[in-house]
Symmetry: D2
Subunit: 305 residues, 4 copies
């Protein structure tokens, strides 16, 4: 079973209406926005997608909509199914396979934390087994889950025990581990990189794909990083990467989750505000954010491919 998350994968936002309810009517707009910018893969219901803040029913409907809307287009859909409750994760994985997802992915349970690689591997096996014909990615994001286990060890221990284990979404600054993951088990796994602001560093070490929030609105910047890297123009790649850094620094200053969704609104994709406990920007904050981004040159950076 081969799956390569090559190129940029947008970790899409989950759209809410003004009452805070799921607004699936926006999904088409998200999809066309991304396709028009050359992004042909999405990661649905991940951290950017606030999956942990959704009900399971909302997550199922969200994935269903994305898979429906993507059908017949160039867009491929990875569905994040991670949850603290195993039966919930399994139900979402089964649905994703039924509806033709490119892959499923899952974070570690984070309230009761796996304390060892074998326990985590068992967890992965249980979810992957619910969608056995679909590639499975473990999504490592210790900063949010509090689960910090060795990914090289996990990959080396997969063996034949999970035939559809395809790789990792690696949202971890540890590029020492990253290099080991890329070469683990003979290099058979796909290790999508998860820190947009460090993409170039991952590329030079061998990354071929990345999943991130800013690929929703700053794909042109990151596409230019990849193209410059491919043609060996590292100076240009570095400058573009620094634009990514400046953009993200600005968003973080205003609250990353709320800012990211506000930027989508600025670009005509009304994904609404985040749900609690993440914070919404009020009108004044949105205006300040827009001014700072304008001043930075952000809107020019993303205007051209």
């Amino acid at each position: 079973m081969t799956c390569r998350l090559v190129g940029l994968v947008a970790a899409v936002h989950t759209p809410f209406d003004s009452a805070g309810d799921l607004d699936l009517s926006v999904v088409e707009r998200q999809l066309s926005h991304l396709l028009s910018r050359g992004v042909t893969k999405v990661f649905v219901g991940g951290s950017t997608g606030e999956s942990q803040s959704l009900t399971v029913d909302e997550r199922l409907r969200l994935a269903e909509r994305w898979l429906q809307v993507a059908r017949g287009t160039e867009m491929q859909v990875v569905v994040h199914v991670g949850a603290n409750s195993l039966p919930e994760a399994q139900a979402m994985a089964a649905q994703a396979q039924r509806l033709g997802a490119l892959a499923v992915a899952a974070v570690a349970p984070s309230y009761f934390k796996p304390r060892s690689v074998p326990v985590l591997l068992d967890w992965c096996r249980s979810i992957a087994g619910a969608a056995p014909a679909t590639p499975f990615y473990f999504y490592d994001i210790p900063l949010l889950t509090g689960v910090s286990l060795s990914m090289p060890d996990l990959l080396e221990s997969v063996g034949d025990s999970i035939p559809n284990f395809a790789g990792l979404k690696f949202t971890n600054q540890d590029l020492y581990a990253y290099q080991q993951c890329l070469r683990a088990a003979g290099g058979r796994f796909d290790i999508a990189f998860g820190f947009d602001e460090m993409l170039l560093a991952a590329l030079v070490l061998g990354a071929v794909g990345a999943v991130g929030a800013t690929y929703n609105f700053a794909a042109p910047v990151h596409h230019r990083i990849m193209r410059a890297f491919d043609r060996g123009d590292l100076s240009a790649a570095r400058d573009e990467q620094y634009r990514s850094v400046l953009t993200i620094r600005t968003l973080i200053r205003h609250g990353f989750a709320g800012s990211g969704k506000a930027v989508m609104e600025m670009l005509g994709v009304p994904v609404g505000p985040p749900r609690a406990p993440q914070q919404t920007l009020d009108a004044a904050e949105v205006a300040a954010l827009r001014a700072e981004l304008t001043n930075l040159g952000f809107f020019d950076w993303i205007a051209s491919p």
Copy 2:
């Protein structure tokens, strides 16, 4: 609105059958077991109850069953409704009120973490507002949630903004904060203590109630702590507390969650094994655990009131 979680509140286990499915038929046995040992309050679907490992539907059915079974008995039921998804927490709170729970309680969301007391207070308000006629407890357990905010500050900031805010389940070793919580806002809040192995320390500082896992099977030990404390026999209280320490140390050595449920089985209350990612003891481990507990004197300690 007054609610005092006076005395021992058992954080009950969630019963599973051998297939790992919810087995609500055991709830009656749990209830009669506890009543026969003088425990008249339960905390349903908390950390001991593996709520994060359950589906929401399972949590709703579990709470419903407890509230049904308890009706007409001396048993009072606190329902834990904390979840990463606010609508899910609200739905469980509303159900708990509808079915007559003594109180609801909620942990902080732990994937997307509130970063300040005001954000956490908003979160509490949203849940408490879904069960406005029912006392609300915030359940502080930083070790599991990774949310470590000042509880005295939280209590001082409640004011009139959440009329049904009743207090805390305080599962935190910080007895400096605990003392401040007991006296916050003129002492109007109820601060149930959550570390069974330190109960006596909390009592001497003013605790009147406690919620814990070991009150399912070691209530006699802890009742003796409370009675000895009340009559001023601190030496006896201390010796009983040390029995609690020894018991818990033994359980931790074998994996606390699995061991606790195994002990319930030994006492004739077949709550089954824990669900993944928590680990189940195999037969040999159960035998070793039983031998160690026997050797310790545990079964004698809990034989008399």
Copy 3:
């Protein structure tokens, strides 16, 4: 070898003059201040004493002065010799023994951290061996050292390997571990408690002594806790403990190290400001601190024994 740090042990401040140099002329005043308040043991060059901010030469001179000044008085002197450099710690331990210290104590090295109990035990052995006729205490303070190893395991593993191992200074909120330490190895060790604001909780679990910063200026409050506890008046003990909490909360608000030294100045013991990186209060901050403490009643609390 028996040593019991019974009662309150003041972790004394290190006096500096206005140029920031060691001012040993103040030591006599510190000693008489403490004796007049019934404190007959000091812990010299600990965390309160800013040992890590001193040069080794300053530490040696400081210990020497305390041991000289205490000679012929009721005061007994424990010397803290912990350091990242083992030869430095050993030199200080040897000096302490030579000059007749009651005991030596040492924190774990904290830059290169012992990763296991056996490594920590070796470390303790190397220091204790440099003062073999003097009781040795390990000083557990994970919050500052970042070394968080099991103290019960450490004590159980001492055996005969360190004949002068006397116990712990336990500056740790984990009262579960504390109880185990008190009873470890048949209860042969002395476990002085290190959180002034939780003293009563330690007493009820069996503590007989405590080492702390506030015993320099708030010994009367804590002596009343101990006396009330001894006569079984837990309500009075609890009220006094809360005074301790309020005092410490006020000091923390202004920076604990600087505030504590400022309070000594207010009491006529001019220990000067702390050394960098700890912060000094300016005149306005000192005035505000004094006003808050006055308002609290602090100066009344410490006026009577």
Copy 4:
């Protein structure tokens, strides 16, 4: 004042004899070993140099010897002077300047930790002021110090307040911060990178120099990374970087500090074992390490430039 730590800077080991005492006679051998491998800068008394385990007198003698031995050679010497005690750090800085060090560097104090950038900046100013004619580097290594403050913020706040502030030794996986540091204050600072196993990632983001332990024995591998990078052969650079990863993984498995010193012995530079609390490899462990490194190809990797 300009200083650029361009190229590889070896963080040299501190040589001990079999009794565990400083053995300065080995320094010449270290120096000639490095020069023969094209390494012309050393970082003396850093973490690899076990500075925190040395006495201050040992640190002074060590720096003195390096500065003597290097005189008249191509070797340039950076002296690490960081310490928990400010006067000790200042004394070492003054000596380094007096004896002609290329630069001084200092870690943050780690027992009493600076809690904000301004406090850390004050700390840096106090040390840099003791060697005002010598470039000063702050050495950021949060994993060991527990001090995790924003380096971009630190650099932006230097301004004119520390004229000899030259930059950072950045031993931190956060390449988002690294990029900001490289461009902070108009790019006026030198940001030497401190994770050998991620060198290529730093290079692609703009690093021009690096300080590390493995440059003592694996400089050829890392020189090939830099040369391959410079000529645009990223595939070769990546393969060499992976050799670095494999080497470090092997060393870590046997205890990094002890293994690194054992490898020096294998190469004919008898730096002896590390001092406690770091662990020494016994003969069997050394043999196993040598066998693993041989099997890996390590000795071939470092045989050619």
